[in-house]
Subunit: 281 residues, 2 copies
């Protein structure tokens, strides 16, 4: 038979699982989707072929094998699980045993164990970034608004974001006029942006006089196949509300949701979007 | 004449200026107090002998010299000044010129320039920590509740706090079960504690099952004469509300407001307070 074997998709929360489904819908490649219960957004529930609890990886493996899946993509966020309430099967126990024997640090520990499990079961892992790579590279200035007046904040925000990534704290930082306004840890980018808006006008920018740059970079030690930082229209909107001047990210190190909408929104608000390449670093 | 020359006190916000006044009230040493307008808490306004704007350091110098002051202590916080609204005298201009020529980083830049100015004017700077040093050293466990079950979080919180201090981001970090829940930047400890309380119960502790440690350490590069991290009953209360298990700090690197009240409150809430010494580091 000539049909391609389906790609297995394990879906957590957020828009990204849906974007992969959409991207592959137009291709010859079928997708077999397994949603993590309680994580997949309600609007996409109908796109799931099967459901698992986070503690039921063996079930996911069995389902994948029945469907002839050889390659798996794992995408979307998961809430940090409450181990006490997990209903563990053998595959889930495999993960939990390893989770407890590792020093549990950072946000991607759980997903990276899921990935380890599927690799150990003989699947090949496909990165979400590979499937979603944009037609044109996200290099340099993507917007009408220039970042030139904000170069210093941009450099410092990237420096801070890299450092806190290496410490496994998070992936984002905000700097305005040399001052660190926020460092992202477990609360996430949206919550960080919301609290910048609550700071006094004397330290942050305003919609009338924008100041401050959000930097998003992958943690150097993280597995780029599962856990790249994501940016989307919500991030641009949050940055606009917080009075920021722009967003800087690694050109090949983020996943963009609705790139065109992001650029349009940024232009409307007068924000810049800038993709760093290795030459800028 | 045998009277001691008065100590000059430049007071910003918070309880610490008042604690110095109180401490010296019982001694033979008179104090000449100069409050920074808009910073000194209303309750202590009557304790000020004179007032200056943050841009009027020359006036402060003149007043100090008239009173025979040779030693100056600078204590309390200042809001980041809006340069446009400052009414600058020559001393203020001296500071602003230097502030603008430096890469303005971190929180203590303004106070450290005030200190530079008074040093350049021939005053000796006395550290608040020296004046407020407690009768017994703040070493080790100060509370009935032990930190033993939280040693790992304690170590990681201290590690993170040191790193973010070295990067001039801030002085505090919160870690619970290995996960960084918060990194303090310009928002301050109280705001950081408040937002920990908004995180899901699955990542943070609760009043019934406390988890997580707040670490406060001085930035390695900061001038300990002016800008040690401060802890007080409000910090203990905030930590209790956020479900934390305890607070760790450098035994000789923090200023405690109302130490006895802090210990009593911590004991009542079941929190630990632990002062790290060089042997623990």
């Amino acid at each position: 038979m000539s049909a391609l074997p389906p790609l297995g998709l394990i879906a957590g929360n957020g828009m990204l699982p849906y974007r992969i489904i959409e991207t592959l819908r137009g291709s010859a490649r079928p997708v077999f989707t397994v949603g993590i219960s309680g994580e997949v957004d309600d609007g996409f529930a109908d796109d799931m072929h099967a459901w698992i609890g986070l503690g039921q990886l063996q079930r996911a493996r069995d389902l994948m094998q029945q469907e002839g899946v050889r390659e798996v993509v794992i995408v979307g966020g998961v809430q940090r699980p409450n181990l006490a309430t997990l209903d563990l099967d053998e595959g889930g126990a495999w993960v939990v045993e390893r989770a407890l024997s590792k020093a549990q640090r950072g946000d991607n520990a759980v997903l990276s164990l899921v990935l380890d499990y599927f690799e150990a079961q003989g699947f090949e892992i496909v990165s979400a970034a590979e499937l979603l790579s944009p037609a044109t590279p996200l290099q340099g200035l993507l917007t009408d608004t220039d970042m030139a007046p904000h170069r210093q904040d941009m450099a410092r925000a990237v420096e801070i974001a890299r450092h806190i990534g290496a410490l496994d704290i998070g992936q984002g930082a905000i700097v305005a006029r040399g001052i660190v306004l926020g460092v992202e840890s477990v609360e996430g980018t949206d919550a960080m942006l919301a609290r910048i808006g609550e700071l006094s006008d004397e330290v942050r920018g305003t919609q009338a006089a924008r100041a401050g740059v959000l930097a998003k970079v992958p943690k150097p030690q993280q597995d780029r196949r599962i856990d790249l930082p994501a940016l989307g229209p919500q991030t641009v909107e949050g940055a606009a509300q917080a009075g920021l001047a722009g967003i800087v990210f690694e050109a090949d190190g983020v996943l963009f949701e609705a790139l065109d909408a992001c650029i349009a929104r940024a232009n409307r608000e007068g924000l810049f979007l800038f993709g760093l390449t290795t030459e800028d670093l």
